[in-house]
């Protein structure tokens, strides 16, 4: 088979959006975001990032806690929709220039295709990040950890969780805008040697670049 055309499979790879929760918004503040990017796959004789488009919103519930969610739009092409909702707690805020964030959330996918035997899948995801000041900008790093709930997998050796470390940079744009560039090693603990040809250092996971824009409104 020609694996490049099977990049369609990768369109459903979840947890794919640039990080927006690296420091608290502040009580009562709302920020909207859009993100584009995903794992690099072999396609059309080159390497292309999956154009995973997502939109999200975060709201400052109190000074050290945000709540928010993200909707993943590309799966709509296949009659499926993905979203995650959760909260972000900031145990350390701008202490010696460092902000720590912990973000538990639920990632859920649903299918509204006809004839499917099961319409919902959900996984708990926990993320952690550390961000440092660079003038008005921020540099940040962290990881996502998706835990299988789980239902049937053909691969009995599939790992029980998916780890995805990331590193990124956030530029301040004007008074209320922010631009993010991020590189995530999606599924670093997963041996990616089947079906889709990812850019996978050491045969593990897939590298995924993202750009995102966030706007307080």
């Amino acid at each position: 088979m020609n694996r490049s055309v099977l990049l369609a499979i990768a369109l459903l790879v979840p947890a794919c959006a640039a990080r927006t929760t690296i420091e608290p918004l502040g009580r009562g503040t709302t920020a909207y975001n859009v993100s584009l990017g995903g794992p690099m796959v072999a396609a059309f004789d080159t390497w292309l990032p999956i154009p995973n488009l997502s939109v999200g919103v975060n709201h400052g519930y109190c000074d050290d806690l945000d709540i928010g969610g993200t909707v993943y739009l590309l799966p709509l092409l296949y009659g499926n929709v993905g979203l995650d909702v959760g909260a972000t707690w900031y145990p350390l805020v701008d202490t010696a220039g460092t902000t720590i964030a912990l973000q538990p959330r639920i990632m859920a996918f649903a299918s509204f295709r006809e004839g499917v035997d099961s319409r919902f899948r959900a996984w708990p995801v926990v993320s952690a990040s550390a961000a440092w000041r660079a003038g008005r900008d921020r540099i940040y790093t962290g990881f996502d950890m998706l835990v299988f709930a789980s239902s049937f997998m053909y691969d009995e050796e599939a790992p029980p969780l998916i780890l995805s470390p990331f590193v990124g940079y956030r530029w301040a744009i004007g008074e209320s805008g922010r631009l993010m560039a991020e590189l995530k090693w999606h599924g670093v603990n997963v041996r990616t040697n089947a079906t889709v040809e990812y850019v996978n250092p050491f045969g593990q996971g897939g590298l995924a670049p993202f750009v995102g824009y966030e706007l307080e409104w």
Partner: protein, 296 residues
Amino acid sequence: MDGARAITVESVMPKSERRLAGLFCAIAALIALVAGGCADMDGFLFNTQTVDRYHPPASIPDSALEQVILDSEGNSLYGYWIEADGAHAGGPHANVTILYCHGNKHSMDEYWDRVEFLRRLGANIFTFDYRGFGLSEGTSSEAGLHADADAALAEVRRRGFADADIVLYGFSLGNVASIHLAADRIEPRALIAEAPFASSTALAQGGMALDFPARWLTEGTYDNAETIRRVRAPLLLLHGEDDDFVRYRDNGRLVYANANEPKSLIVVPGANHTDVPQTMGVDRYLEELRRWMGLQ
């Protein structure tokens, strides 16, 4: 949003940011529009390519080649009947026909090397293009694959071959056709399955490492692992241990585990998806086939 900051959009958002927000809304609307018609992955499974004509290798003499046109649900399918070559050791076995169901790449032209290998067994070979492949008419689908396989089997039977003298051989996607025939249409002399995938779900899960259910991506199930349970014919399954597309451990292994006896498994160390015969050695490959097909 507190009242002090939300008097008007214009007062708090620079023009450039309002443009970005507008772009964001436009992209979201575009996606929503596209989503009105759902795509599926079935089309991606069929890597079809049309051709002006076929290019059989010169090693097969014209006298041994016959181009055949079949009808499958109103679609004209193209195939080749390749007459047994009695010159090879162990041949001729002109009473036996191998119905070869090729993989998903382009057309029969991609698989002539396989035909050349198999011809050394001394049996007849019939191979064909599924609808949408090569010169064959129509649009590919799982149901179409089944119907096209039925038409190919009818052609072999029309030539007077008994079921016990027909060997079904599927490679990769072609296993959907050959396993369907062995399960529901015929008890063949033998079924050879090379690099079969377990199902479309297994392929998708292998690519994502997540437990997405069947039919979230495809209309068909392509469930070889389930269909093989109904097969009673002797099964020889070949799979490359290093197959990085249809991975053995969650595909060929499951198909084999669900198959009935008699069955035999050859996992070829170092072989990838398309080079099982070459990696195990063509002579040994043919010897295994010869033994399993009873052509000694």
